[in-house]
């Protein structure tokens, strides 16, 4: 791939970003044609902060997080932009460099813990594996470290459960084991892609609490990928809302949630049942665009109540306004509309 040729030389990384995406484009290649799915995303993950990437299915949020750990699915490739880990551009990373970075610099917690664990091996052995292979510890030392880690993530009776296989663990316990594996080598960046979506609410509450505690203790720079606006509200300091492969609004959680300035953010928040019995929901009309046939101008305009002629021709850039960045020609109107709603 000729990524470095396409993109100008990366600017020197900012000191406080543990990981960074700069104007990253990701597409699916079929023959000579590339379907763009992520279209120019810039994100910075800072130590001790949780950034949530919010969006619906197909918005490109999962691909964005996979790019940070070098695990894009077959066919997907970075067509432009820079992915940096702790200041190092990963464009030139060999397979071996990526293997070394995974676990020790960046780790990931996936949605389905059953798929993330090998069903044929004891859970404890899987947690101990990085200690053996990467740190070269003895079998006994690795086991001790693994049991201690299992205890830290709240697996009761850790020593006795060391030899149990994944199918003998409940869903919540499996996710705890996966978190233990992710944290084993002390990474500075944690990617959590829908970490609690497969879990029940009371178990979800336990796992969110665990993630928040570990994140704070270790000062992890965390990217939380989620479609659940409530989970995000509970976990994240900052939010980036993705639509059709672009970030349409990004800023501190409070600013974005209480006074959204992009019509899509406003639409998502309005479409959530908010506990008022019987009140009518306000859905976002229509469907997200097909990435093979994107609409001209702003990708959201066919579904947008604020759309005017300029929206059909010009794709708005992400610009600073009211303490966050927004990609909308009518951000002021949307902000005004959402604050009226808040007052009611």
């Amino acid at each position: 791939m000729t990524m470095s040729a396409v993109h100008p030389a990366p600017a020197p990384p900012a000191g406080d970003a543990a990981a960074e995406l700069r104007d990253v484009h990701i597409g699916f290649r079929s023959g000579r044609h590339v379907t763009p799915v992520v279209r120019g995303v810039t994100l910075r993950l800072r130590p001790g902060r949780v950034l949530a990437l919010v969006g619906e299915s197909g918005s490109g949020k999962s691909l964005t997080s996979l790019a940070l750990i070098g695990l894009l699915p077959p066919g997907a490739e970075i067509t432009a932009g820079t992915v940096a880990l702790g200041g190092d551009d990963t464009a030139g990373f060999t397979a071996r460099q990526w293997r070394e970075a995974r676990g020790s610099r960046v780790a990931m917690v996936f949605q389905d813990p059953m798929a993330a664990l090998n069903p044929g091996f004891a859970v404890g052995a899987q947690i101990a594996e990085p200690f053996r292979r990467r740190l070269g510890l003895s079998r006994r030392e690795a086991r001790e470290r693994a049991v201690a880690l299992m205890r830290e993530v709240g697996i009761a009776d850790a020593a006795a459960r060391y030899g149990d296989h994944p199918h003998e663990f409940s869903g919540g316990m499996r996710q705890r084991a996966v978190i233990a594996m992710a944290l084993a080598l002390g990474p500075s960046v944690l990617l959590a892609d829908e970490p609690t979506t497969a879990l029940d609410v009371t178990v979800q509450a336990q796992i969110l609490r665990l993630l928040a505690r570990r994140q704070q203790e270790a000062g992890l720079a965390t990217l939380l990928v989620s479609h659940d606006l409530g989970v995000v509200a509970r976990m994240a300091h900052d939010v980036a809302v993705m639509y059709a492969g672009r970030i349409v609004e990004q800023g501190p959680l409070d600013a974005v949630y209480t006074r959204p300035a992009h019509p899509y953010t406003l639409g998502l928040l309005r479409a959530m049942p908010d506990g008022r019995e019987g009140a009518r929901l306000i859905p976002v009309p229509g469907l997200p665009p097909d990435p093979r046939r994107p609409p001209g101008g702003c990708a959201f305009h066919p579904r947008c109540p604020f759309a005017t002629d300029v929206c059909r021709t010009d794709d708005p850039p992400l610009t600073e306004t009211g303490g966050r960045s927004v990609a909308c020609h009518h951000a002021d109107e949307v902000g005004a509309a959402s604050s009226v709603e808040e007052d009611r």
Partner: protein, 345 residues
């Protein structure tokens, strides 16, 4: 059916009862001791509930609480071990399968995932009309096309969708087809098992609004099963909270969500992340320890006591009945229902 127009002003007690389950037990069977015979594992373990005409009963609970088993027993996909399911003057639970078919058209079901519950290679028209093959006489053959078009319009699709195949449609559109298919038989009750759980937020709101509109137009009743408390709070008139096969609390949506009295309901409500939460104020939530026990070996006494933050000695012996208790306005199955509302924070 159109005669029973839905009157939103009518209090819950007045509407005609469509379905009443009493002491319902259902579940799965597994080999008995030493491999001899079979042992019944009741996943739904003695449950009473009532659905009224033109109204929505929401059932909430976590995985393994038996809410899907309940749905399956009610539509007759699995047999009931014990208890009765009263519907249209007959008992569905004891009815032979052959007779059941006649009643079946009055109770329809919408599943969570339209891609697996409907055949993706059938056309939309064929899916919607399929029920008329099983239950002839509802719509004359020569009126079928017009009726399919009318149903599609009702659920917000266009007539030209009739010729499409399901795999060409989006998830939300498929779920609209599943609803049209259920409505085609003019049922009195639709069982929705996690019917909106697989949909994205913006589309989910469209389907929830559609279900509400259809109810006020057609007077159909819903048994709406979901793990999503916000959704149930939004759509349900009455709510039953399930835990390990039994109902632990039941009442109007206002009572259950506004004044929860069972410790499990309180924990569940506090665990649901809301858009109004913030990272620093998570401390006020009640976090339950552990996970749901197996229905094959439920705890003695109160089934919730092993995870309950209020459990006392008594809870291990006495099974708390689901009744209206002193200091509560709605039925709660907890010895300490009175304290639960006021205690804690």
């Amino acid at each position: 059916m159109t005669a029973t127009a839905h009157d939103t002003a009518a209090p819950a007690g007045d509407a005609e009862v469509v379905l009443r389950a009493v002491g319902l037990e259902a579940g799965y069977q597994r080999p008995g001791r030493h491999g001899f015979g079979r042992r019944r594992v009741p996943v739904v373990a003695g449950l009473d509930l009532t659905v009224r005409a033109g109204r929505t009963l929401g059932v909430v609970g976590e995985s393994g609480c038996g809410k899907s088993t309940l749905a399956r027993a009610i539509v007759g996909l699995i047999p009931a071990f014990a208890g009765t399911i009263e519907f249209g003057g007959a008992d569905l639970a004891s009815m032979p399968r052959r007779c059941r078919r006649r009643v079946a058209r009055d109770v329809q079901m919408v599943f969570q995932d339209p891609y697996t519950s409907l055949n993706p290679r059938m056309t939309v028209a064929a899916v919607v009309a399929e029920g008329w093959r099983v239950h002839p006489g509802i719509v004359p053959r020569d009126r079928e096309d017009a009726e399919v078009a009318r149903l599609l319009e009702l659920v917000g699709l266009r007539p030209e969708h009739a010729a499409r195949r399901l795999h060409e449609l989006s998830g939300g559109q498929c779920q609209r087809v599943a609803i049209a298919r259920a409505l085609a038989l003019r049922p009195r009750l639709i069982v929705c098992d996690e019917a909106v759980s697989a949909l994205d937020v913006s589309v989910r709101a469209q389907i929830l609004n559609l279900l509400a509109d259809l109810q006020s137009e057609l007077g159909v009743a819903y048994l709406f099963i979901s793990h999503d408390l916000d959704v149930v709070r939004h759509i349900a008139d009455e709510v039953a909270v399930m835990y390990l096969g039994t109902v632990v609390e039941q009442g109007t949506a206002e009572q259950v969500f506004g004044d929860p009295r069972h410790p499990y309901t309180r924990a569940l409500l506090s665990a649901v992340p809301s858009v109004r939460d913030r990272p620093d104020d998570a401390a006020r939530e009640i976090v339950l320890e552990g996970e749901v026990p197996s229905p094959a070996a439920p705890p003695t006494g109160c089934r919730f006591r092993t995870r309950c933050f209020m459990a006392a000695e008594r809870c291990a012996q006495d099974v708390p009945e689901l009744t209206v208790r002193e200091g509560t306005a709605h039925p709660v199955a907890c010895h300490f229902a009175d304290a639960a509302g006021t205690g804690g924070e």
